[in-house]
């Protein structure tokens, strides 16, 4: 069920009431209840894939215990490899089988070899890219002795399947989330109120920003050949806000929902479009994924410790794999590589850790230099998003080419003023709140102002609810 669906509006309060009033006797009942509702939540999509997540969880539960039990380094490695092969095997099969088969066939055809391909009608299990990475990080952390494996199967299964973050992240680390399952949760008014505010903000971003942008984005991207350059630019910019509203909106709802049950998840977006360079953007966008790749791929490859060439190689590997993680299409790989290319100059000049403070800290407006940096960084990401959104590489290149070829010095055919106002509202609120956890983190404001803001945001969300319903974009990953 979607977070912005009627079923979830019924599901969440029921789960909340049962959790705090009937299943609050101890950790065991709390965690068992979380596990059951998480499986109900996941099974709502497709009950057939419950066995997959259960099997994945069971393998990693057993593997982690055995890694700790054995003293032989070789045996530890074998168990870890078993976990990696199982999890990545499922991921590769469900997500990439057809892509590899078709790509191989095309590649062989280029050299005159024709083969019979056998593609399968595979349904991608929702959330597989997320929970797979979550469980892999658990077994690796146990292997690295960063974490002791849990002996409580309920706790572990609940950690893997925890419903707010199961299908689209944040990709939680066991070091953060698993210990929370090993302590009884107590209701906190402040925490729950924070959660409600964050859910409201997430719904605003998804329903008002993302779904309304989607209408124009789909219209233009699906027929880019007929639109003028100005409309193409506008559609690309709107996509940047669609994907931000969609994905960060989902994360906010996930984090806010978790707070209602006494859990703290990691921050996944930190106002990325205020970044002054690409490296800062990647410290603020989909933080759980980028830190995952840093900790479990970049650093094991040597990171930046073994010279510039190795650092460049490792950087490109990370960005390419990150692109590939998003989907079985060359466009995602191209998007990843593009971001790697953007990152390269900063890496070579040792400026990739330059902007680590909060922009315009303790000032109301940024400096002119900062504004220019923000705009340049934003447009670089927009260019990358064209690849992310396009169906094929040639579509992406033609889209960009048409921006210049078909540019007219007149009002673009697609000029949704209403969307610009919404985006301006979003940017304004997030700019004011950039030092806070999210746009509606207003617990320090007077009560009347807070309630007025809640009402305004709620009514805007109801009134400008898009007539077309769109799945969360990251569900397809």
């Amino acid at each position: 069920m979607l977070f912005n669906s009627f079923e979830f509006i019924i599901f969440l309060p029921l789960v909340f009431i049962f959790y705090w009033f009937f299943f609050n006797r101890g950790i065991k009942t709390q965690n068992l209840f979380v596990l059951v509702v998480s499986y109900i939540f996941y099974g709502w999509w497709d009950w057939r894939f419950l066995s997959l997540i259960a099997f994945s969880s069971l393998i990693d539960f057993i593997v982690a215990i055995n890694i700790e039990k054995t003293s032989s380094q070789k045996t530890k490695k074998i168990f870890l490899t078993l976990s990696l092969i199982t999890n990545l095997g499922f991921l590769v099969f469900f997500k990439y089988y057809n892509f590899f088969v078709e790509s191989l066939s095309i590649a062989l055809e280029q050299i005159g070899i024709s083969i019979d391909t056998f593609t399968l009608n595979i349904v991608l299990p929702v959330g597989i890219s997320f929970y797979t990475f979550q469980t892999i990080s658990y077994t690796i952390d146990v292997y690295r002795k960063r974490l002791k494996p849990t002996k409580n199967i309920i706790n572990f299964f609940a950690f893997v399947s925890f419903f707010p973050q199961l299908v689209a992240g944040p990709i939680e680390r066991a070091t953060n989330l698993l210990p929370q399952f090993e302590k009884k949760r107590f209701f906190s008014y402040q925490y729950a109120s924070e959660g409600m505010r964050q859910i409201l903000w997430g719904l605003f971003k998804k329903i008002v920003i993302a779904d309304n942008c989607a209408k124009y984005v789909n219209q233009v991207f699906n027929n880019y050949e007929i639109y003028d350059g100005g409309s193409l630019i506008i559609a690309a910019i709107l996509f940047a806000f669609q994907i931000y509203g969609d994905f960060s909106g989902y994360s906010d709802i996930a984090i806010g929902t978790s707070k209602l049950f006494g859990f703290r998840l990691m921050k996944n977006f930190n106002f990325p479009y205020f970044s002054r360079d690409i490296s800062e953007f990647w410290r603020r966008w989909h933080i759980s994924l980028s830190t995952w790749f840093k900790d479990y791929l970049y650093i094991p490859l040597g990171g930046s410790k073994n010279g510039k060439l190795k650092a460049i190689r490792n950087t490109f590997i990370i960005f390419t794999v990150s692109g590939f993680w998003h989907g079985a299409n060359w466009t995602f790989i191209a998007w990843g590589i593009f971001n790697g290319i953007y990152y390269l100059p900063l890496l070579l000049a040792n400026k990739n850790r330059k902007n680590i403070d909060i922009i315009a800290h303790n000032k109301f407006l940024p400096s002119l230099k900062e504004i220019i940096s923000i705009i340049v960084t934003f447009f670089l990401t927009v260019l990358g998003w064209v690849f992310f959104r396009s169906n094929t590489l040639s579509d992406a290149f033609l889209f960009i080419l048409n921006i210049f070829k078909r540019f007219e010095f007149s009002v673009p055919k697609i000029f949704p003023l209403k969307m610009f106002l919404f985006v301006f509202l979003l940017i304004s609120i997030e700019w004011i709140q950039r030092q806070k956890e999210h746009g509606l983190d207003i617990s320090d404001r007077p009560i009347i102002i807070r309630w007025l803001i809640y009402m305004v945001i709620t009514f805007i969300t109801i009134l400008f609810n898009s007539p077309n319903k769109y799945d969360f974009i990251y569900f397809q990953f």
């Binding site: 009627f6 209701f187 008014y189 109120s193 409600m196 309630w451 009402m455 009134l463 609810n465 319903k469």
Partner: protein, 303 residues
């Protein structure tokens, strides 16, 4: 926990309280529309012997007052710019909900009547301002995939499609003005039409572009007339180009015994002075065409 639950209850009460204020603009919406035809239809205030359905080719090319005076029957035009056969069928269905059913119905034919195209559609925008009526609300919910329950408990959700544009008093556009008995004839000529030349070549029609939903709608329209024993006349008004014989052949096959009035070949229909644009007659042209239509009806009635 107590404080949290109290806050949720207070928030919910406040939400519904503020939401109830939206009932005022909801009730005001129909008054702001200059085209009141649909409201008259849905509130059973239309009681005519004959109705004209179709797109702008119905509303601009056929003059109901002329039909009234010549045939001695009351007549009303329910043609809507840019509307498709699905919409016409819906309007006919609404018309037939009344106790007194019409005796005669005209349906104009566009070349694209059973082909999907972006010029013709189901005019949801005409229904939105009438959302205060429950059955219109249900239709909108069904068509737009909205939650019926939410639309019943939240007025703001119910009227959201009207934000913000429909809350200004609508002024009639020169191409969408309403005259007597629903007529929308225009007397001026479109600027772009000035240099257009009459197209005398054979028009094409591709069966592959047909849309099954639109074909079903056309069949439903015909069935509704048959079931209710209403005389139906299909009308093919002139355009500033040759007749699409391939389309007419196809329509005759689909509609079988239903009388089709096809405009006669006259010099006026090749003269731009009788057209407002390539697809529509102006008032002068509409008077000539309506007269021909009346003669056709009279000949049918005599038979």
């Amino acid at each position: 926990m107590k404080k949290f639950i109290i806050n949720i209850i207070v928030f919910t009460l406040l939400l519904f309280g503020i939401d109830s204020l939206f009932i005022i603009p909801m009730n005001k919406l129909p008054e702001l529309q200059y085209d009141k035809r649909l409201e008259l239809l849905f509130t059973n205030k239309l009681n005519f012997d004959a109705y004209i359905y179709g797109s702008s080719r119905a509303s601009r090319d056929i003059i109901p007052k002329q039909i009234q005076e010549s045939l001695n029957i009351t007549c009303f035009n329910l043609g809507f710019l840019g509307s498709n056969i699905e919409f016409h069928t819906f309007l006919l269905h609404e018309t037939l909900k009344k106790k007194q059913k019409p005796k005669l119905v005209f349906l104009t034919l566009d070349d694209k009547i059973i082909q999907y195209n972006d010029r013709l559609g189901f005019r949801m925008d005409k229904l939105y301002p009438l959302v205060k009526y429950d059955h219109i609300n249900e239709i909108i919910n069904k068509k737009e995939g909205k939650s019926t329950l939410l639309s019943r408990i939240l007025y703001s959700y119910r009227i959201k499609e009207n934000f913000p544009g429909n809350f200004r008093k609508n002024k009639p556009h020169k191409l969408d003005s309403i005259f007597e008995f629903g007529s929308q004839t225009v007397s001026f000529r479109n600027k772009k039409f000035k240099d257009t030349i009459y197209v005398d070549r054979e028009q094409s029609y591709l069966k592959d572009e047909e849309n099954s939903i639109l074909i079903d709608s056309l069949k439903s329209f015909i069935n509704l007339c048959n079931t209710n024993k209403i005389n139906l006349i299909l009308v093919y008004p002139p355009e500033f180009k040759a007749k699409n014989e391939a389309f007419l052949k196809r329509i005759k096959l689909l509609t079988k015994d239903i009388p089709i009035f096809i405009y006669k070949d006259r010099l006026e229909y090749k003269n731009p002075n009788y057209f407002s644009d390539v697809a529509h007659l102006n008032k002068k042209g509409a008077m000539i065409f309506t007269n021909e239509l009346i003669q056709f009806v009279q000949s049918k009635l005599v038979k």
